[in-house]
Symmetry: C2
Subunit: 307 residues, 2 copies
């Protein structure tokens, strides 16, 4: 059984001890830094405090709809100083996996993408050829000609060797039918992440996992997921930043992604914040998904360390 | 363990004995009568033979995209004599279930539909109010205004008490987001059927179950399915036709829908045909999904009974 998590809010000595234990903080964004376009109070100052104490901050997000460059624009627009080197999204993680681990060889090296521009931009940054994505040719109803050409294969690109599925606000029958045919013909099945829901406007909407689940149901195959809690993402982060896992802490609001990610990655610590999906009651059950080592009401509670 | 199925093809005495055992034949359509728009050779004559011997033939299909009226047009167009009273589809089964068993009461008696016109026509035939379906207002991208209105509930119809999901060639993010919000607010979750794939042009495409599975993944709830192998459909057929189950045989190509449907419905017999999805090898495994009582290579093999 996991130890009881330590509650840090208001406990200045404990907060200082906590901060001193780590060199690197991996921070989830939604539910931790912001909710949609609303930055939580005191977050900017908290990040400044951590950096002023020599800590490295890395933003680790499962949202695949934005590339690192687009994330940087969002950070800047919200008044949070950052740079692309600090940002690690599941679209980037997927592109890294395809180019450096999967290493698809011609003539089967194209990726069929279900997802938004964020995925396309990260694939381009790794020079990975792809089709689908935001191409208007796939944003339409399926015609009888499509149906024939998909069935006999004449409409399929013989160079596709991988299907990558992320959150797609323009999901439709034509894209699902294409992806299914590629998977039936042996394409590698990847997902940026498999979160069932996506938080927006203080509510929930279909997440990336709800876009790929029809393909799981049809093929009986599970995708390799490249977002949290997949350790493929942790390995990619470690490879890029050369971090010491023992001196690294994962900060997040979700037990099944963030906290599980940190525990399974054998990081030195995990910190849960209660400004997002999960609450204290969620780990105080008989068989919790994951139990954090520490928790605070909100990220900015760490600012008490300055006084 | 189930007995070994009896192979009837070419065995005239066995075919005659088989036909004599039953008064009613429930026939699946796709993979049995036709494949898409191609009627299998000899099927029309086989149906004539059965009827000439005083047998009732009832077409039982999970395809919810057509109403009984639209099915009749298809039968007529393909040269198969029939009438709407002989046709029982999952859209009709769903409408019957909603009006006669669920009996939604105002002010929560509207159905949010994901599906095609077949469902709408059958709901209309039972005077069930509905929204969604083929309404162009739902066949478009989600806007930021939709996202806000779905999150705060202002865009939701407070009269919706049920979400019914069937095969929808125009599935999109907006429809899934609506259905999810209705389900979160307690709407009853129904599916015309949960087949993962849909046969078309001698290949497979996403089926009705692949349209509802994202909602299962998001809510953790399973829908009540009204198509085969759900016994809700068998009960509806029995109620309508007053059939004697002992003297009824289910004919189909799929073990997991047709044959299972007949066995779980304790019918007098099940007949598998090998012109569709499943083959002999599929029930000759250690733990088969379902084993038919009889099988033939093709439905028209029963015509040998005339000689």
């Amino acid at each position: 059984m996991a130890a009881k998590p330590k509650y840090l809010t208001g406990d200045i000595p404990a907060i200082n001890e906590f901060i001193d234990r780590f060199d690197v903080f991996l921070l989830d964004c939604d539910g931790v830094i912001w909710s949609g376009n609303h930055v939580f109070d005191g977050v900017v100052e908290t990040l400044e405090l951590l950096r002023s104490r020599g800590k490295k901050t890395i933003f680790v997000t499962n949202n695949s709809t934005k590339s690192r460059q687009e994330y940087l624009q969002k950070f800047t627009g919200l008044g949070i100083p950052s740079d692309t080197e600090e940002i690690f999204g599941s679209a980037y993680s997927s592109a890294i996996y395809i180019s450096r681990i999967l290493k698809l060889a011609p003539p089967k090296n194209k990726v069929f993408v279900i997802g938004e521009a964020g995925i396309e931009n990260e694939l381009r940054s790794e020079s990975i050829p792809f089709i689908g994505g935001t191409d208007p040719a796939f944003r339409r109803d399926m015609t009888p000609e499509d149906s024939k050409g998909l069935a006999d294969g004449s409409l399929l690109d013989p160079e596709v060797g991988c299907v990558l599925v992320g959150l797609d606000f323009h999901i439709n029958y034509l894209k699902l039918a294409h992806a299914f045919q590629y998977l039936r013909r042996g394409a590698v099945f990847l997902a940026t992440n498999v979160d069932s829901t996506f938080p927006m406007n203080h509510s929930f909407f279909p997440g990336a996992g709800s876009i790929s689940i029809p393909l799981v149901y049809m093929t009986g195959q599970e995708p390799l997921a490249l977002g949290k809690p997949s350790q493929a993402m942790m390995d990619a982060i470690e490879g890029k930043f050369q971090l010491n896992r023992e001196r690294t802490c994962m900060v997040g609001d979700r037990l099944n992604t963030d906290i599980k990610f940190g525990i399974e990655g054998r990081l030195g610590g995990t910190l849960a914040v209660l400004t997002g999906v999960n609450k204290q009651a969620d780990w105080e059950v008989d068989d919790p998904i994951a139990v954090p080592a520490f928790y605070v009401d909100r990220l900015s509670d760490l600012r008490a360390a300055v006084s």
